[in-house]
Symmetry: C3
Subunit: 398 residues, 3 copies
């Protein structure tokens, strides 16, 4: 907690090219340059330091942050609300209902109608494969057009709070946790991270977490190992992105046959359940047809399929296979903890418990990551804006 | 976007008598003088200009804007939230449930209980004929009494966000759109506007839109032509208001037998579905008795009645009958667009599409109109307040 | 409304020891010293005076006030929202559902996940005997641990908005009403207050109101008389607290056999329905077992039990037994008013009506009491903070 540190970060930020982030959306991490990602971490840390020093980073005197969640969400909702509030935006929920996915004219009209005084639109739409990202693009294009056509005097920017393809606010928070744990991004080269499937007695968990992880972690020269049972493949296009990232960063992206293989000598493990891609495609179709019986049958089938892989659990025994038996255990929370939140789950209670505090810390970055995404989309010269804020030195609490 | 223009508007505002608006409600446009309406447009435009110039018009350091909606509403909700947020009020929803219309002691008590720190109460209650306006009056009288009795240290003001009789925030936004389209209120004398019924495959759309339009547009020397199929009469007392307005303003209020007659040589057309008044009265009674079967039967009957008038559609052919074939097409949105949102509806897709941008623009005024209503009910010398704000020159975004 | 009065209160506040309130929760009034309670009244009154003088007491430039309500609540919700808004906090609702009472790991995790940028957590959990207070303690301990472990950079404080044991924001508002009615706390010695059960055609009203009243009012040297039909006993541990309080304050705590006995010569009467403790214990168990049939049977039984005591009504006749027939009638609202909100209820319509304005006034203190609880938990030297605010003299409305 020193303003000297904050000012150093502001100087660092001034050297990063963030020009294209201005008035732009944050949909996938792989749309962004390394410098842009670095700017996100830097701004997130500046905001965190300012808050610790009781300096308010309120940059909006008024303005709305619209939240559009297809699914119930306490954690993401609070992270988004916290980020908006910190910067001075008031959250206004746009509740379109879970199942009704609007299209075409309706999306365009609604997107414009709610945006007359909106600065940010945060969208979480992870339920339907092939729909979430497409919807966010449609909203973004609608408001871009609205701005060009003179309907919207300013252009709200869209933040992806989780789609079917990527979960950038999660993966970026995870990454900031890794950076802080390993003492800097420069220490990550050659570190091994195991992103693995894990058993859960529930079905339909989104693929965007593992996809987000392999799509981001491959950019830092790390050895990223993906493991899952047969049938739980992630989107091939995201695997391809991971492969290309690894080539460019001097790291590697490999697929392991088992949790044990992936965990072997790993510095970081991220065991987490997700649904089979094919099943999610089928589910999207069933929902589209309103086929309730089909959905129920599919759910039953999925639970049975999951149950074949109960050995995919992050146990103490498996943890001993990791680097010095001390890999950093990660999870996006909430986890299915064996004997705690379910009979058999993703992780042994003793493993989870040993990492509980780091896991909470991992989650704590999300409001700052979201705030950083908002900040960088709204200020052309973000380091200048921070200088003004530091000079102003308004107390957050009097 | 020039502060010179804003300052001129502020000067203009200083010449208007807005004294009676101070600490007063906005329930019907016909309760207000011409100068008061002019003040609303002026303040709305000042607020819009200030926002474009990034000057914050935040006048409340804290305070609540209570929203009380009987019906689901995305657009009005966002307009009200935007207006409140722009001025510094936080919205707090009072959800009394849709069907439970409270009376007497309950209204008085609730109105006082929520108002201890409220500055504004925005109410939308358009579902039941004979109830919405009465309810707003009851709330207004309750808080007026609460203030007189020393319970409320300040008197929140009520803004009608749509009742059974009038829809002032809609009609005023529409009017501001007309003023801006025709280059000033002074150009409206002799212009013809057609407010007509249109077919929709839904029932029960409120009458307050056409009523609001004929009750307001007749005040500017325009020729207002109302057309609808037999059985779709609007409230006779509002027609009477329109007639008196037209006499006073040197315009006219006439009723046409068909859409084509109304459209003939019109400068502006506003084709829009609404429910038969008599049916709405019946529905109010059925709801009051909790007669679900009766309601369902009535709905079926209404849909059948509507279906007799499918020829009441705003087609390209009908548009050619308007002044130079180029009348301004208006709608409060969302519209029932033939082939887009329904098979057969209020308007042809090509007509709607040609006017899409102006329609969005029309809607964009509503947050400013609501903010103007709030502003004028809270400041005794609004032009002085604006001068202070312009001198302060606080940035909305840093 | 004079700043001289406000400044005197600030001076008074500076003499009170509020050190232990700093960063601490407000769960029960009996956890707090007399000086601490006095500080709450003083701060509440300072805030009220500042608002009347249009001086903003906004102390947070940003921050969240989390509301967690197990039950629907309009009044408490608005009181909490008003208090948060006045001080600069934005309310964010945490809706965990009514019946799902989370435990252990889930509580700990959720409490931390929502608290990264939260300053206050307001909880209302009054439905289940033996659960509400325990839950609040669990939340408080979770965030305290989160703060110690470095997860939360600041420690949000918990305000009890009603639990199964106490209802401090209600009893403190009631007390402030009494203080103001009788011209100061120094005039309360020897005054008699009757806290009595009253008939209501509903079941399951919480015991925390009578418990809160006897737990607080016994601290001011008053004679507190509790009366209820057999079977409607309150928690024995709270009666014990009342007894000890009365001893220490030089007042008395007695139990009367009837409403008439309790009312005899009373200066204040507080007739109000509540559920039998034993029945509430049973209900908690039935809810825990998901025994819907059992719950329904219990409800029927409770209504029948209540109906045996319809003579427990605050009638005009009973009011004549009070001191000069002019006792102050109090209620936490809404009341069951005979012939108004029900056929037979807690109070005669004419009694209620005569006291309507004071009853509304009584309720009006709650937002200020809650704001005072927040304020004193956030500022180490609250009188210094108020001095700064008075010097700043920011207008609440421009």
């Amino acid at each position: 907690m020193s303003k000297i540190f904050t000012n150093e970060l502001i100087k660092k930020l001034s050297l990063l090219n963030t020009e294209k982030m201005y008035l732009n959306d944050f949909l996938h991490t792989w749309d962004k340059t390394d410098q842009e990602l670095s700017a996100i971490y830097t701004v997130a840390t500046i905001l965190e330091e300012m808050r610790k020093d009781n300096i308010s980073p309120k940059v909006f005197d008024s303005g709305l942050g619209i939240s559009l969640f297809r699914d119930n969400s306490t954690r993401t909702r609070f992270s988004f609300a916290s980020a908006c509030n910190l910067l001075g935006l008031e959250v206004q929920d746009l509740d379109e209902g879970k199942s009704q996915v609007a299209h075409g004219e309706t999306v365009r009209e609604t997107a414009n109608m709610v945006s007359f005084m909106a600065d940010i639109i945060g969208i979480r739409d992870d339920m339907y494969i092939g729909k979430g990202h497409a919807y966010m693009k449609e909203v973004a294009e609608s408001i871009e057009a609205g701005h060009q056509e003179g309907v919207l005097e300013q252009r709200p920017t869209v933040v992806n709070l989780q789609c079917d393809v990527d979960h950038p606010t999660q993966s970026m928070s995870d990454m900031l946790h890794i950076i802080n744990t390993f003492g800097g991004v420069e220490n990550l080269k050659g570190k091994k991270i195991a992103m693995t499937w894990a058993y859960s007695p529930s079905y339909g968990k989104p693929l965007s977490v593992p996809q987000g992880i392999i799509g981001l972690m491959t950019r830092f020269g790390m050895d990223v190992s993906l493991a899952h049972p047969e049938g739980y493949e992630v989107m091939p296009e995201v695997e391809e992105i991971a492969r290309l990232n690894a080539q460019a960063s001097g790291g590697s992206f490999t697929k392991a046959a088992s949790m044990a293989d992936a965990f072997a000598d790993a510095d970081i493990v991220y065991p987490k359940s997700w649904a089979p891609f094919v099943a999610m495609e089928k589910r999207t179709e069933l929902y589209g047809n309103g086929d309730d019986a089909g959905i129920k049958a599919l759910e039953k089938e999925l639970l049975a399929q999951n149950a074949l892989h109960k050995d995919w659990e992050c146990t103490e025994d498996l943890m001993t296979k990791t680097k010095n038996g001390k890999a950093l255990y990660m999870h996006c929370l909430p986890a299915d903890i064996t004997g705690v939140s379910c009979d058999e789950g993703e992780v042994a209670a003793s493993v989870f418990d040993r990492y509980r505090v780091p896991l909470y810390k991992e989650a704590s970055y999300k409001p700052y990551i979201i705030a950083a995404m908002i900040f960088l989309s709204k200020f052309k010269n973000p380091s200048d804006t921070f200088k003004t804020l530091m000079d102003q030195e308004t107390s957050r609490i009097l």
